[in-house]
Symmetry: C3
Subunit: 343 residues, 3 copies
């Protein structure tokens, strides 16, 4: 359990502390769950109701809520960002052992930095490069000629095919697959003819990739993920997609081939984006929307219907297929009702 004084915490996040700087804390928790010795934070008015009853050792909050807090306070402009920055100090993750595990299979032509950790049963193929302080958890497979930068963290059973490059400080979670073949086939009278996917994948620095996410290699040229992109679990990114820097993609979203997505976009969960589109910078897409046309202006976009009880929904869903005819019926009524209606 790491321990810090409130004085150290205040200095780490640039907070104004009211309370004893020598008080020691050893964890961070929600307002409801924090006990003595633990920090907490108030990041939104929604949780204000829990402030008065908190048993935390101290609370990170904005000046607005300081007077209501029954325990010592750490005042900052953005409590959520301060929490994010502190959270790493209380990490519960195990520390990897430097060096190559005796059961790992490393090609003689691969290059592993002396400060890297290559876990049990990893396989690093010909010409692959693993950078300084990078950690490969058990069972990671790195294909021929692929290059992993420094300070990477590849969790258990990640599969990196050949010809993939990752920048620095990239985290990839368990069972993600980077560099599998894009889904490219040409039709012929004898059936589908596979198009060899001869491009690679280029991933920038400071990227996070979730568990069971798949990022395919390009057909011609590379699939490209920009710096600072964050990608959740079970996301599918097809061949020759390009994602601009700082874009965030939530779980189960699927992006079809050759679509280019701008910078600083936020794409919610289970979204579908069809192929060969251009999405501008600063676009936000709400959960489970289908994006089937290019978007040239920043802003928020959606598709789908509202939810309701199935019995009501079923009546309305069937009506959906008669919608165009309803518009024509209303037009007819308007014609009959005379020229003064306001549409």
């Amino acid at each position: 359990m790491p321990e810090f004084t409130l004085g150290e915490i205040a200095s780490a996040i640039g907070a104004e502390l009211s309370g004893c700087p020598e008080t020691v804390v050893n964890g961070i928790q929600s307002l409801q769950d924090a006990g003595p010795g633990q920090l907490s934070f108030l990041s939104s008015g929604l949780y204000r109701q829990y402030l008065r009853g908190t048993r935390a050792a101290a609370v990170i909050l904005t000046a607005e809520f300081r007077a209501e807090c029954p325990v010592p306070t750490l005042v900052v402009a953005s409590p959520y960002l301060a929490y994010a920055r502190l959270s790493q100090r209380f990490s519960t993750a195990p520390v990897a052992t430097i060096g190559i595990h005796p059961t790992a299979v490393v090609a003689p032509t691969a290059s592993i930095a002396a400060s890297a950790s290559v876990g049990a049963h990893c396989v690093v193929a010909d010409g692959a490069v693993i950078g300084e302080r990078s950690v490969l958890y058990p069972g990671v497979s790195v294909g021929a000629g692929s290059r992993i930068g420094s300070d990477a963290c590849l969790h258990a059973h990640v599969v990196i095919y050949h010809g993939v490059t990752l920048g620095d400080r990239v985290t990839v979670h368990g069972n993600a697959v980077i560099g599998a073949d894009g889904f490219g086939f040409a039709g012929s009278p004898q059936g589908w003819v596979k198009i060899a996917q001869n491009g690679g994948v280029r991933i920038g620095s400071d990227v996070e990739i979730g568990a069971c996410t798949t990022i395919d290699r390009g057909a011609l040229g590379d699939t490209v993920i920009g710096d600072g992109v964050i990608i959740d679990n079970q996301v599918q990114i097809a061949h020759n997609v390009r994602i601009g820097r700082g874009t965030a993609i939530a779980g189960c979203t699927a992006i079809a081939g050759s679509t280019h997505i701008g910078e600083r976009c936020t794409i919610a969960g289970a979204v579908g984006i069809t192929g060969h589109l251009q999405i501008a910078d600063g676009v936000h897409i709400t959960a489970m929307s289908l994006i089937s046309k290019s978007i040239s202006e920043a802003g928020s976009y959606s598709s789908g219907t509202a939810m309701g009880p199935t019995r009501d929904w079923r009546k309305n869903a069937v009506r959906f297929l008669q919608l165009d005819s309803l518009f024509r019926r209303v037009g007819e009524l308007e014609k009959k009702s005379g020229p003064d209606h306001n549409n």
Copy 2:
């Protein structure tokens, strides 16, 4: 091939047998496909048409259909449940070898029950515990301090991170990932700041988890899956989600962070549930619905539209974006048409 007499079968499922109790059966099949020596069952009136022609050695059914059955019958209240209970006796799954395979890498501080099976190339990290009779198929990775109860079955290449606990009789299918980081980041002018995911995952007993399903660890506190929950393939369960006991979740459903789902819910395939919601006990959600608000009453809920030929659908789908204006047009017509309309 295991063999049982009809007498043994009748006694195992509490059935009333009409037929010779010494007849031997060695398998169970559908009414159409069952051959001599095989049991079958009629679980729904839909399959009644196949009853007269069946070649099964005996059929499990309700009393209602006994008279129509040309072969010996086993009468029970619920033939489908009886079939479920018998199906395990005719399992085709291979039996695991007790003990630790010489290629497995087990930390000296890990504890493996003597009756457990740890397959080839498995990795069990520091302080992990594997309970009695639990089976780890090849390539399973169990992180530091994680605890697997008794009678678990972890199929090939399952990844369990650190700080995860599984109860007893839990089955996890191939390439599922339990305990990867939740998708938590705070925005900053310099880009996304990762929030360390310092909670764990707690999974109850009698739980089934499908292939390539991902269950993330909590940010603060744990992600919790209750007893008797069944989860299909490629389901995504985000950090700090809680699933109540006995709930069933079909394939490709995605549940966003901090949502709490009640007990005995049934969630169909490819459903999306947004974050921070409360879903009551006994809620049913139909396939591919987006649930974006809390649900406080049991019942069935849906979203989406009916399907149709693409040409018709396209006309209606475009009309969807003019729906609000149509409502205003109709309101205008109603105003003009006088006070006696019934809305």
Copy 3:
């Protein structure tokens, strides 16, 4: 880098060459990106704008565009198909080493063809068969009694359960899982009772299966994938599904149990198909549609709404739940407006 003369290329794809047959090429690229020494192709009028400025050594195109091409031409009927056929000659994939890696664990009763390649940390269980020239990348697990035909390519960490058969020339991408249990449970007062999934999976020849795709074993009888079927990443195929020959399924599509899909269908990405349906041959389904009824005629089918800015969309989405009442209001107006309206 493989090298070919334009004469060899012309002969390989049956093209009419205008240009020197001795010119050597060593790659294939898009019209914009091709440099000297590289082939290119014009597969659609959409890219015609790039033809005049290309620096390619030669361009594969139809006779229609020959006059506009500034460099040597290879005229064929289908440039895209010609590109597909040539792409394999310029493959960048590493070549596997024949033989069994010393870290692989192969059961004494398994049978591995002499020309096959079994990579590091692979596990091949009792009675499994690996055909001629088939390649198992590192960490592949093949269950008891499963049979892999000839010329297969199983990428890293593919999991094949017991009782699965693959035909010849099947490619399976990283972390795909074939043969996990179908999601079959019977309800009981004591909770869900698991139905043993005693069938297997039968996959034809010339099949491609994407990364993290899951194909479950049958409950009774097998799940069946026909010859020439191509399946993208993260597709979920439930127990006892049957897919007809030549059908293509794009990423993240989910097909529920016992549904039968015809031949030569094309199913776009993120589609959901509910269980126990019959889908005819030659059906096309557009992206993210939910198919909840059987389809008996070839043609294109869809569901969902158009996308729009979230602010507009929200107004319309809410209106969706009042659609049936709107139809009744319009009917009322039509009644009042007299007998002459045209609906």
